[in-house]
Symmetry: C2
Subunit: 337 residues, 2 copies
């Protein structure tokens, strides 16, 4: 008796593709606004802004605004300007982050501050931030202005909070979740919510989209923080172990520390204080994390929030948009695997 070897069907990994095609047309319009509104008579401004903006970012946040609009069946074009405003706010925070962290790599190439210096990087961030509010003001929705100005303040608070938690080994998971809820998830939430505001489709829908964005943002940041300990530089577009050397208290560290022996805790304390920054130290850190499933469980936490994001939009009838958004949430968790 002979048998042909029939390959098992390869398990389909979740993909961002459906989200990309759902929003492709809209993103062309958004990109046109971005390109037009980052211009200035001061040549350095579009040069510096363009360096980051054309630098291979996924433009995930404006995409959320577009996907949300598709989900609620909004047929107008107001959300294009607003999605561009969201991307400007995000770009401004990235520029300021690079200065704050002294980053050397961003999206796989030299960070803006390395090429253009800290002064110009800070100021062009301010410019883009102002432009974002100009765009929102042109649109004219005070509710959108309220949502995004509040999100901006919360982001800044989250960044300061992260700064004060840096090199603080005692940082709890709760504090960490609070920080990433502010510095990352607040803009995801706002970007999603404003699509429902523009479509004027009611409080419940607004809340649902906000919840989708917030949970997706938390999942996204958790995976980002996991990736810093389990992928190589080319894949993540920044130096591996950046968080480690900067003494950032991300969840993989919090879990490894909580679950570690006394010796291991000693190592983590030293490392987070900045006394262990060699490649060997990083390798040891990754080994300790593996021992305690710290990276794996960070991804498990992310899966939980992604599921909450998916469930949040279950109040909407099934549609291509809803499926694309659900798959995007699963994709966010599977990134870098």
């Amino acid at each position: 008796m002979s048998a042909d070897i029939v390959p098992l069907p390869r398990k389909q990994l979740p993909s961002i593709e459906p989200m990309l095609s759902l929003t492709a047309n809209g993103m062309n319009a958004v990109n046109a606004v971005i390109l037009e509104r980052m211009q200035s008579e001061i040549p350095l401004i579009p040069r510096l802004a363009g360096y980051l903006i054309s630098g291979g970012g996924k433009r995930l946040r404006p995409m959320l605004t577009l996907a949300g609009a598709a989900l609620v069946g909004y047929e107008g074009t107001r959300h294009h300007k607003l999605a561009a405003a969201v991307e400007f706010i995000h770009t401004a925070t990235l520029l300021h982050d690079d200065v704050v962290d002294g980053s050397e790599l961003r999206r796989g190439k030299a960070a803006a501050n390395i090429i253009f210096g800290n002064p110009a990087t800070v100021l062009v961030g301010d410019f883009l931030f102002s432009r974002a509010f100009e765009l929102m003001t042109e649109d004219g929705s005070l509710k959108v202005l309220r949502i995004l100005s509040n999100a901006s303040a919360v982001i800044a608070e989250g960044e300061v909070s992260q700064l004060t938690a840096q090199r603080q080994i005692e940082t709890s998971e709760e504090r960490y979740l609070h920080i990433i809820g502010a510095k990352t998830a607040a803009l995801f939430a706002a970007a999603s919510q404003i699509s429902a505001v523009v479509a004027e489709c009611g409080e419940e829908q607004e809340r649902a989209l906000e919840d989708y964005g917030r949970n997706l943002g938390v999942a996204f940041q958790l995976v980002d923080d996991a990736i810093d300990y389990d992928s190589d530089a080319a894949e993540m577009g920044k130096d591996p172990g950046d968080d480690f050397r900067e003494g950032k208290m991300t969840l993989p560290v919090i879990l490894a520390y909580a679950r570690g022996s006394e010796d291991e805790r000693k190592f983590w304390k030293d490392a987070i204080m900045g006394h262990r920054t060699s490649e060997a130290d990083l390798a040891h850190a990754i080994e300790l994390m593996a021992r305690h499933n710290a990276v794996h469980d960070t991804r498990e936490r992310a899966r939980h929030f992604a599921q909450r994001a998916i469930d949040a939009i279950s109040i909407f009838p099934d549609s291509k948009a809803r499926q694309a958004m659900a798959e995007a949430a699963q994709f966010a968790v599977a990134r870098g695997y």
Copy 2:
């Protein structure tokens, strides 16, 4: 024949006092908003913001909003929040300026970045900027939002433009005026204009107040730049010669260079390139300026713009408010004499 010596009546110097008493009550309300709205659950934020905000600033910009409101007879209270927003925008730009310039002194004490570091200083600037837009959104005037978001973008452009002009000896007076028109006068103009917007008193009044603010702002910055070469540190609250060492192309330098001999121009080129930073070099620079009346004529230019500011509000009937605003413009020019 004998004669008693009768002292000539001492020429009364222009004073800021009438402006201070005109706006005293309103400023109490504005200060309460500032204090309340710079709070955050992240303790570092009010600590850092408070360090600068309680650090002896004159709060000239919100005062302009209040004076304008008095001039047009506005009796409401909406302008208090908006004046606080103006001060938050100003404070945010000061914090970012300190990082950009690497300042060591601000208002006579250590600059925020020296005490709290660049990262927190950048981020708290972002926080205050966001808060400013929250305040404006709460007020709800899209016109005010348009004016102030535009002013913010223009300020950032002015700062970047100044950055690119730094160490560029060929910077012209026109370019310089354009820079200070953006980095300083735009917010003066906006702060004045919004009082008329809130009072809904018509285009002509709005324009007049905007012109008052813009011209006053130009005069104010001209005098600031003159003071950097003719006053001591205690008086100006920053290190004397900061502009000189940073290679900033301010009007005193532009005039001294334009009017200088070939040897003198050689000196200025070296100095602006950063090759002449000693106390002796600074003393020589001041001597060259004196030879060509560069500081004196910078103040003369300021007088011109102050006069334009005064004439701009001549469309309003004479009043205590108008007199106080006119005298404030004269005071701006006389500062540091």
